[in-house]
């Protein structure tokens, strides 16, 4: 560009000088000045042509053309700002929603986990081979198993583990106020295996996860910044964690993705070593992750794990012989709950994208009809169809570029707030990032849109209409085809909105009802910690151990009550399926099944269930005293329906005949939408001895604040008792609600966006119609029609389309609603109230969107509009 400018500067002078020289030469040869000059000019040639040709050497034709076309396009849009804005808003919303949905789906379903060699990373989970197949539980392996696997597995390249299944709560004291942080106890191999690297210091060394090693800690980057203001001399300092001094050996890089990928975003503040001692029979649970050797299949790994298990289950670990392992790819377990909501989300995204395109096509069509004259004049003057098409494409491309950029900005914002919404418990939420696949897809969609809409604008142009456009009063569009397409587009949009609105409404109401459901216990103000004395305490001594634990825990200040249960309701593990066979009868598989739970005395009070009749379990209820049990309301009701007094009934449960001594309220077990079924409870003192690990439930005002004291109380009884992660009961309930919340939120958001899009469409169309029909309106007003007739005329056509769309949409919604039946709760898919509300909202929005521009109609000045331009 610079070179061109420099070379072309003074071209005029150069040419003039040249001609003067030639003239001078001619004069020197004897010609008269005028003759000399004339000859020189002839010899030179056409000066302006030379000028042009010289300039043309430097011109980059296509670029200059594009620039001027773009400027013309921008000027054209300035003439119809309302329409332009409507289109840009439509694009922004549509592209924003699509990009967000695409990114979410991509990161959950497609994207590889951000660890090295993610296709070979697997979970190892342990299950009891006697139990029916249940979904793999993440933190189900025991220390002796892991100690064995570390050294003996050949199918795995490496294995690493962390304690429990999720980050634990630790108390840091010493400098400043004590604070509760989230931390993970890991074995030495885990961090390097998952690709962690330190920004300062180092990670755990080989011997640092041995028992009785000096206690070390690795801090997360975020925690280091927050608590220690990024001090570079932090390495070597000592922090007191859970009353034990730990030396800081390093700080992790901020990019380490573990918490975002596997733990739904809640940040982990620090990593501590997990002591692995193969001989110790601490039975704490661990989650194990391993990397398979290249070419090894999950089946082979399972087989080797099974043979290791058998080899291990000798002597004091004979009881482990029934255990087996499952090997699952890392991403599967994390995303299993989110898979179908995300797929439904993609469906919703398709709807929104469709709506966007229809909307745009309609708006452009409306606009195109008003420009027929301009296009026909241009073509009459010699513009080729290609040229006009190029112009149209640039015009749409301009808006698509603006709208697309705005859309991406919206998507970035939406993704940002999704990342911060840890309450959503979205899996892999930390990996949510606007990456190249999303941008590339958006780019392709935008490019396609530009070209398509450019051509759509020419849709109604037909050769024989050439004369029509050249007449002085073009009037409104008379092309039936274009009008038909417009009407169809508007009706389609309204129909889609209705479908989405009804779905969204049903889901919202379901969620509201579900959240209101009484779980049958009081989840607020209670937490659960797993206690597992297996191996450490032999069966005869176990009861005493548990008694002591309960006594100590109940003595902790501010603890209201404490109790044990085999599995806390709505927790990680569902209640067990037992048989309650009425005494004296034969086993009947269809009627005798029930859900069972082993509980300690005071359980019902602690967990907030109500004892409706009879008494709680107490110290009497241990072997060899008479066996007792409790049943729930539903069970009692069925007994009474059969004419049996529940409190006199006796059933055989788990091998012993037991007397019913209490009736308690129903408790939900897997989720709030559980249906009522028979439940039985047996006291811990009369349970079979192979049950060994129990959830300790503690009720207090703020139970999570008491975690340290509770743990201290338990360790008072047994210094080395390994404990599970403390989890508030409300959080368990929240987890069961996550997929529903996600789906409801997404569909509602889509319905909202679709509504906005439709409103935009109506607004744009009506606004444009008003400007087109200025003449007609003016004539009517001049002839004495009242103002409101003018508005009515404009609105009528549009509202007819809306009405038609409403009808079609309602039918569609009725037809498709049953598909989401599985996500509904307490409400029928064809609920009338929801339908009516949705339709009312949509019609209201359409009316408002149509009324706003139509208001301008009566303000038309008849004289001005009737003047011929």
């Amino acid at each position: 560009m610079r070179r061109a400018r420099r070379a072309l500067s003074g071209l005029d002078d150069d040419i003039r000088a040249h001609i003067e020289r030639e003239t001078q030469e001619n004069i020197d040869r004897g010609l008269s000045p005028e003759e000399a000059r004339r000859l020189a000019l002839i010899r030179f040639g056409n000066v302006s042509l030379v000028h042009e040709d010289t300039r043309a050497v430097w011109a980059r034709p296509w670029l200059d053309d594009l620039w001027s076309t773009t400027r013309i396009a921008a000027r054209t849009w300035r003439r119809t700002p309302v329409l332009a804005i409507a289109i840009v808003v439509t694009l922004a919303l549509g592209i924003g929603a699509t990009t967000t949905a695409f990114t979410l789906a991509y990161s959950v379903l497609v994207q590889q986990l951000p660890f090295p060699n993610p296709d070979r990373l697997v979970w190892v989970t342990t299950y009891d081979s006697r139990e029916a197949a249940s979904p793999a539980a993440i933190g189900s392996n025991r220390l002796p198993q892991f100690a064995d696997w570390q050294h003996h597995l050949t199918t795995f390249e490496q294995v690493g583990a962390w304690a429990g299944s999720a980050p634990d709560v630790f108390t840091v004291t010493g400098a400043g106020t004590p604070e509760r942080v989230s931390g993970l106890r890991v074995t030495q191999q885990l961090l390097p295996m998952l690709g962690a690297s330190p920004v300062i210091g180092r990670l755990f060394g080989i011997d640092e996860d041995k028992p009785r090693a000096a206690q070390t800690v690795v801090l997360s980057h975020g925690y280091w910044q927050r608590r220690f203001a990024s001090r570079t001399d932090i390495v070597g300092e000592s922090i007191t964690i859970e009353n034990v001094p730990h030396t800081v050996i390093g700080v992790l890089s901020p990019l380490f993705p573990l918490s975002g990928s596997l733990f739904a975003g809640a940040p982990i503040d620090m990593y501590l070593p997990l002591a692995v001692d193969g001989d110790d029979d601490i039975g704490g649970f661990m989650a194990v992750v391993g990397r398979l050797r290249p070419g090894v299949s999950a089946e082979q790994a399972r087989g080797e794990l099974a043979s290791r298990q058998i080899a291990l289950s000798v002597g004091k670990w004979e009881w482990m012989a029934v255990l087996r392992q499952q090997v699952t790819p890392l991403a599967d377990l994390v995303t299993r709950n989110a898979r179908s909501p995300v797929l439904l989300l993609l469906g919703g995204m398709g709807c929104v994208l469709l709506m966007t395109c229809v909307n745009l096509a309609n708006l452009l069509l409306v606009r195109g009809s008003g420009r027929r004259r301009e296009i026909q004049v241009r073509m009459a003057l010699g513009a080729s169809v290609g040229r006009v098409l190029a112009q149209m494409t640039v015009e749409s491309a301009l808006l698509v570029a603006v709208g697309g950029t705005a859309g991406i900005a919206i998507a970035v914002g939406a993704i940002g707030s999704l990342q911060r919404a840890t309450w959503l418990s979205l899996p892999r939420i930390g990996e949510l990032q606007l990456g190249w696949p999303a941008i590339a897809t958006v780019g392709i969609i935008c490019a396609t849109m530009s070209v398509t809409f450019g051509s759509v604008a020419l849709l109604h142009l037909r050769q024989r209409d050439l004369m029509d456009g050249l007449r002085p009063h073009p009037g409104i569009t008379t092309d039936r085809r274009a009008v038909y397409v417009q009407r169809l587009a508007l009706a389609t949009q309204v129909a889609i909105v209705i479908v989405l609105a009804v779905a969204g409404g049903l889901l919202l109401r379901s969620l509201a009802r579900l959240v209101d459901v009484d779980p049958g216990f009081n989840p607020h103000g209670a937490l659960a910690i797993r206690v597992d004395p297996a191996g450490r305490v032999a069966p005869p001594a176990r009861l005493q151990f548990f008694d002591q634990v309960l006594e100590r825990v109940r003595a902790v200040p501010r603890v209201e009550s404490a109790a044990l249960t085999i599995h806390v309701p709505m927790g990680d593990r569902p209640s067990m399926g037992w048989d309650a066979i009425p005494e004296g009868r034969e086993y009947n598989p269809t009627t005798d099944s029930a859900a069972g739970r082993i509980v300690s005395p005071e359980y019902f009070r602690t967990v907030g269930a109500r004892i409706l009749e009879g008494r709680d379990f107490d110290a009497r209820d241990i072997r060899p005293h008479p066996f007792v049990m409790a049943i729930n309301e539903t069970f009692a009701r069925r007994l009474r329906a059969d004419g049996i007094d529940p409190l006199r009934a006796r059933f055989r449960v788990l091998g012993n005949v037991r007397q019913v001594v209490a009736i308690v309220s129903d408790a939900k077990d897997r989720g709030l939408d559980d249906s009522a079924r028979r439940e039985v409870y047996i006291p811990i003192g009369q349970a079979p001895s192979f049950f060994q690990s129990y959830d300790l439930v503690v009720r207090a005002d703020d139970p999570m604040a008491l975690v340290s004291s509770i743990r201290a109380a338990i360790w008072n009884v047994d210094r080395n008792q390994a404990l599970g992660t403390p989890v508030a009961l409300e959080e368990y309930i929240g987890r069961t609600l996550m997929p529903r919340r996600l789906l409801t939120g997404v569909i509602s958001a889509f319905a909202g966006i679709a509504l906005l899009l439709a409103a935009c469409g109506v607004y744009g169309v009506v606004g444009y119609r008003v400007s087109q029909q200025m003449r007609e309106i003016a004539i009517r007003l001049a002839l004495g029609a009242p103002r409101r007739h003018a508005i009515a005329a404009v609105l009528q056509d549009t509202m007819t389309c809306v009405g038609f769309g409403l009808a079609v949409g309602s039918v569609l919604a009725m037809a498709t609603a049953p598909f989401i039946r599985t996500y509904l709760f307490g409400i029928e898919p064809r609920d009338a109230a929801t339908f009516v509300t949705a339709c009312t909202v949509v019609v209201g929005a359409a009316l408002l969107a149509a009324y706003l521009p139509a208001r301008r109609a009566p303000q038309v000045d008849p004289i001005a509009a009737l003047r011929v331009e």
Binding site: A7, L8, G10, A17, F44, G45, V47, A56
Partner: protein, 117 residues
């Protein structure tokens, strides 16, 4: 005044004109008028190129980096652009010259097949 047809005629000789300009500049820097005169005299007035077509040719050559220019003063104290060969241009001239020779020899052989002297 030239018409489109005339311009087409000149376009045919475009490449040759470029070659002649390069050759002329080999002898030293010159301004536009001088180059034209050199070509006319040098060809004994056989090649009478439309003088205006020089300028697009010169700019083509500048664009390709074969010649460059400087503002200077001519012999009659007038300002003018003086054009000169670049190293690239020199190489291009040699290349084009040999191509031209080959072409001329080939055409000559067909036109006069007997003459082998």
């Amino acid at each position: 005044m030239s018409t489109r047809r005339d311009r087409d005629r000149v376009d045919l000789l475009q490449g040759t004109l470029d070659l002649l300009i390069l050759r002329t500049l080999r002898l030293g820097p010159a301004h536009g008028h001088a180059i034209v005169k050199a070509i006319e005299y040098g060809s004994e007035n056989v090649l009478l190129v439309e003088q205006g077509s020089l300028y697009p040719a010169l700019h083509r050559l500048i664009k390709r980096g074969w010649i460059t220019f400087e503002e200077g003063t001519s012999e009659n104290n007038r300002r003018a652009k003086f054009y000169q060969l670049t190293a690239k241009g020199r190489k291009q001239l040699d290349l084009e010259t040999s191509k031209w020779d080959t072409l001329a020899r080939a055409v000559g052989r067909i036109l006069r097949p007997a003459s082998q002297e």
